[in-house]
C-alpha cells in the first residue's frame, strides 16, 4: 500500500527539543554552510519528494566528515556566510565577525 510520509517533530529522549533561539541547530547550520556536501558520496535523503524540497541533508559533524566535504576555497566560505546572512541565520554583526575570521 502506498505510504505518504508526514513530517514529524524531532524530539529527544526527554521529549524536549533543545532551544536555539529560533536559529538553526548546530547540525542544520553545518549543513547550510556545506551545501556542496550533497555531491560527495551517497546522501540518504530527499530523493526529489516534496517534503524534502529545500531541506539540506545533515551530515554528521565532527571528525567523521571527509575533508572533501568542506568548502574548497575562501570564496565558497564567503558565499555560505552571505547565504546565512541573507537567510537571517546570522546577524549583520555576527556576519562581519565571521567574515573577518575568513578574510583577516
Amino acid at each position: 500500500m502506498l505510504l505518504v510520509p508526514r513530517q514529524l517533530r524531532r524530539a529527544g529522549m526527554t521529549g524536549n527539543v533543545p532551544y536555539y533561539g529560533g536559529r538553526f541547530t548546530p547540525a542544520q547550520a553545518y549543513a547550510a554552510s556545506h551545501r556542496s556536501a550533497r555531491s560527495h558520496g551517497p546522501v540518504p535523503s530527499v530523493g526529489g519528494t516534496a517534503s524534502g524540497a529545500g531541506r539540506a541533508a545533515v551530515p554528521t559533524p565532527g571528525r567523521s566528515v571527509p575533508p572533501a566535504a568542506f568548502p574548497s576555497s575562501t570564496t565558497d566560505t564567503l558565499l555560505a556566510l552571505q547565504h546565512l546572512l541573507d537567510a537571517g541565520v546570522v546577524t549583520p554583526e555576527e556576519y562581519r565577525g565571521l567574515r573577518a575570521r575568513v578574510t583577516p
Binding site: 502506498l2 505518504v4 517533530r9 529527544g12 526527554t14 521529549g15 517534503s51 554528521t60
Partner: protein, 158 residues
Amino acid sequence: MGPVQVLVVGFDRPAFSGEVLAEFTRLQKAGIVRLVDLLLVSRAEDGTLQTMAAPPGVAADLGGLAAELLGRLESEAGGETAAAYADPADVPAWSLADAVPAGSTAAVALIEHMWAGPLNAAIQRAGGSPREETWLAPDDLEALEALIAQREGRTASG
C-alpha cells in the same frame, strides 16, 4: 508510556530470520525496551514509499500503527509523494522520505525505552532541562573505551 524512539534501518536484501524480534522479546522481558511496532517499507526509484507485508511468523497487522503515525496510507498513487503536517521552519522535523533513499528497503521500528521513563521523571523532579542529546561517534566511542581501560589499568596497578 516511556520515550519512544524511531529507528530506521536500511537493508540491501531483507532477510528476516527472526533474530532481531527475538532480541526485542528478550529486552522486553528484561524491562529495558518494548517494540511497539515494526513497519517494513520499500521506496521506488520515483520516490514513492510502499508498505511491505509483515514477514512470516509475525502478526499480520504488524506495522499498521507505525504506518498511521508516520504517514498516510493510500490504496493508489495520487500524484502526491509527501505531505507536510509540521512546518520545518518552526521546529526541527523529519520524515521517512528523508530517511529511506529511493530504490531501497527499510525497517522502521517504534521502540519504547521502558528504562527511561523513571529517569526522565527524576530529571524533571530535579529541575533539569535538556540541552543536547546525541550518540557518540564510533571514533569517540573508541576514545572513551581507551580512557576507561587506561583508568582501570591505573586502578589495578595502584
